[in-house]
Amino acid sequence: MSVNPELQGRSYAATAPYLVGREKVREFARAVLATSPLHHDVAAAQDAGYPDLVAPPTFGVVVQEHALARLLGDPDAGIDFARVVHGDQRFAFSRPIVAGDELSATLTVTSVKTLGGHTMITADTLVEDAVGAHVVTATSSLVVRGEE
């Protein structure tokens, strides 16, 4: 199996809205050893000017995961998941994710490059809120290791 070079430029339909729950924000914050009260204490987050708990900066990966699953599960993509290694990750924010957000994610493959026996796939996942405003763009590069 090898990666389909025609993936470049392909977009996948937006994921079903993901409702960001307070307990999920707290759980994720504990998991990444994030102790700021803004992740845990609603009053502290509101005192700082946010409507509800603020998610840690990498929380977007939870939403991005649903969009990436479409790419990885696309039979036409030719991606063998066991050979996938995470190369780069980036989050570019318009605003932080907060509890109560309903987020949808739209993934577009921006580049497919072959480097030696490996293929690097870069994809942008646009995360938008319930009114369609941009929240964060999560960019991932995945390296699909070649078969020896």
Binding site: A31, T35, A48, V61, F93
Partner: protein, 141 residues
């Protein structure tokens, strides 16, 4: 809580340092919270079968914890993080008994009118595990 002023920073200044102790429990907790259940993060036999020297931490866990000293420096206000990127260069191997210690040093890499780029050096066992780890933050002018 308040964030530091952009005008009070110096290029190259270390603004935060931290050490994080990871154990297998940390990895299981992250797997549950993130939904990434790849067995290379909790099964030695599977890790060995794909050529790894042992169970490794999720790259996204390392990325997630590495930014925390910067968030703390920002007065706990994660909303001041405008952009955060890393490159995964080496795995963090988490020993079943001794775990793994990851250290983070955050330095000022660039200063703008109302913000800064903070460059992270993230190491495990004396080696850098994240490359080009940069956090762009909003500060008060």
């Amino acid at each position: 809580m308040s964030a530091p002023l952009a005008s009070s920073l110096a290029l190259g200044e270390v603004v935060a340092e931290a050490e994080f102790a990871l154990s297998r429990d940390t990895l299981v907790r992250y797997a549950g919270a993130s939904g990434d259940f790849n067995p290379i993060h909790y099964r030695d036999d599977v890790a060995a079968s794909v050529g790894l020297p042992g169970v490794i931490a999720h790259g996204m866990l390392t990325m997630g914890l590495a930014v925390q000293p910067v968030v703390d420096w920002l007065g706990g206000d994660a909303g001041r993080v405008l952009d955060y990127q890393v490159r995964f260069t080496r795995p963090v191997i988490v020993d079943p008994v001794d775990g793994a210690a990851v250290t983070v040093v955050a330095k000022v890499g660039r200063i703008d009118e109302a913000g800064a780029r903070i460059d992270l050096t993230v190491t495990f066992a004396g080696e850098t595990v994240l490359g080009k780890a940069q956090v762009v933050v909003r500060l008060d002018a």
